[in-house]
């Protein structure tokens, strides 16, 4: 069995690019159709990152910005899951990066001026590389909800931003993880850019007490599926064979 082209993206399973309720998308969404083609080596190859990239605290957002050894403020959580492809195969050795607001809903970013305070011991970014079974873990704090300028009173639900590489540039994905039970998800115009309800639910991480550590942290599970590659006995044959 040979690895063939990437499976075409199912655009109806993704957010719509143009959504008037998310105002910034109005001027930043293309009007003309995308040019759809079978993937080429340019999309089927991609950057690879080894474990040598990682420092010991890279996946520990509670401690990786600590100035004096004090932990970040907030509800301590383990975020964990697996990265798979559409064929159900684990995606090992792929880089995952996350970023998030602190427990008060404030980002450590030159452009964030929300009145919630910065936490001197929280930077808000982390990264890790999946193991041989595609598993990953982060230790962090639960981010706060925050208001944002869109409609008159829009608030983002609690969320963690996630970037995944896969093994091919055409698998590149950025998404967001939401938290089970957050009433702001149903009111969020960014979450609502995903029109398929089942797909939106896949971004909502369930509380996972099987991975919580007593007297220490709660856990949330978040699995990620990247594009797969067609696998048949008929790939890479001259046309018509």
């Amino acid at each position: 069995m040979a690895d063939g082209p990437l499976m075409p993206r199912r655009r109806d399973m993704h957010p719509v690019p143009f959504d008037p309720d998310y105002k910034t998308s109005i001027s930043r969404s293309p009007r003309w159709p995308l040019l759809s083609m079978e993937s080429t080596p340019s999309e089927e190859t991609g950057p690879r990152f080894g474990a040598s990239l990682l420092g010991p605290l890279d996946n520990n957002l509670i401690m990786n910005y600590s100035a004096d050894g004090s932990p970040a403020i907030g509800e301590r959580i383990l975020m964990h899951g697996r990265v798979l492809d559409e064929m159900g195969r684990p995606v090992p050795e792929t880089l995952i990066e996350i970023w998030q607001a602190n427990a008060g809903g404030r980002y450590r970013h030159v452009k964030d001026g929300y009145l919630a305070p910065l936490d001197p011991n929280f930077g808000g970014c982390g990264r890790t590389i999946t193991d041989a079974e595609g598993r990953y873990q982060f230790l962090t704090i639960r981010p706060g909800a925050y208001p944002w300028p869109n409609r008159a009173n829009d608030w983002r639900p609690m969320h963690i931003h996630i970037s995944v590489f896969g093994h091919a540039f055409g698998q590149r994905l950025i998404t967001q993880m939401y938290f089970e039970g957050d009433p702001l998800i149903a009111r969020c115009p960014i979450a609502a850019t995903i029109k398929d309800r089942g797909q939106l639910e896949r971004l909502v991480a369930p509380l996972d007490m099987s991975h919580a550590r007593p007297l220490d942290f709660l856990a949330y599970k978040f699995d990620i599926v990247l594009r797969g590659r067609r696998q048949t006995m008929f790939e890479n044959k001259p046309e018509g064979m």
Partner: protein, 199 residues
């Protein structure tokens, strides 16, 4: 009833938002000290084979305003047309670069080596190009496009050949602008809208 399929569906995208830099280019956000350096600051190291080139441009929204908060990733082959990881690829070419539009001017700059032509399925040859992936607030799923070069023979490129409206193909071609310099602007919407890809 039929048998269930055993394939999964890709996780849906969400916008990278205005603070994408915290996670991807922390020094741009003002977050220092978590990592020794940002990832993908250059696609080439000392000693990379081939012609060093610099590509400059902006990303414009539908009103003509240059985005100040976008993040761009580039991926390319080396000067001989080999992708990093392939046999014989130039060890000084990582091929991957991450950069942000400047927060004041909206200008971006990519310094790299000019890639070679690359083979594709069925004996086709792709003209030299750099693949781009663009994310920002207001972009709900990352936008794929390519930079081709105005001083190369692009006439047989399989992707450019698929663009029905010939003037639109020009949106993927960087304009030579002095020795080793190119200009490549990206228009998300409106007049001269860039061709974005689904492949």
């Amino acid at each position: 009833m039929v048998q269930p399929l055993d394939t999964l569906i890709e996780t849906p995208s969400q916008t990278a938002g205005p603070y994408v830099h915290i996670g991807c280019i922390p020094s741009f956000a003002g977050v220092e000290g978590v990592y020794p350096q940002d990832l993908g600051t250059s696609p080439i190291a000392e000693g990379a084979q081939g012609q060093i080139i610099t590509i400059t441009g902006s990303i414009y929204d539908g009103t003509g305003w240059a985005l100040r908060d976008a993040m761009i990733e580039a991926w390319q082959a080396d000067a001989a047309g080999r992708f990093p990881g392939q046999d014989g690829a130039d060890p000084a070419v990582s091929g991957f670069c991450r950069f942000a539009a400047d927060k004041d001017s909206g200008l971006f700059t990519l310094r790299t080596v000019k890639p070679g032509a690359t083979p594709a399925r069925g004996g086709a040859v792709q003209a030299p190009h750099i693949s781009l992936w663009i994310v920002a607030r207001g972009i709900n799923i990352g936008l794929q496009t390519r930079i081709y070069f105005g001083d190369e023979d692009n006439s047989n490129d399989p992707l450019l050949s698929r663009i029905e409206q010939r003037p639109r193909a020009e949106t993927l071609i960087a304009k030579p602008d002095g020795e080793g310099q190119y200009r490549f602007d990206i228009r998300l919407q409106g007049d001269g809208e860039t061709v974005f890809l689904d492949l």
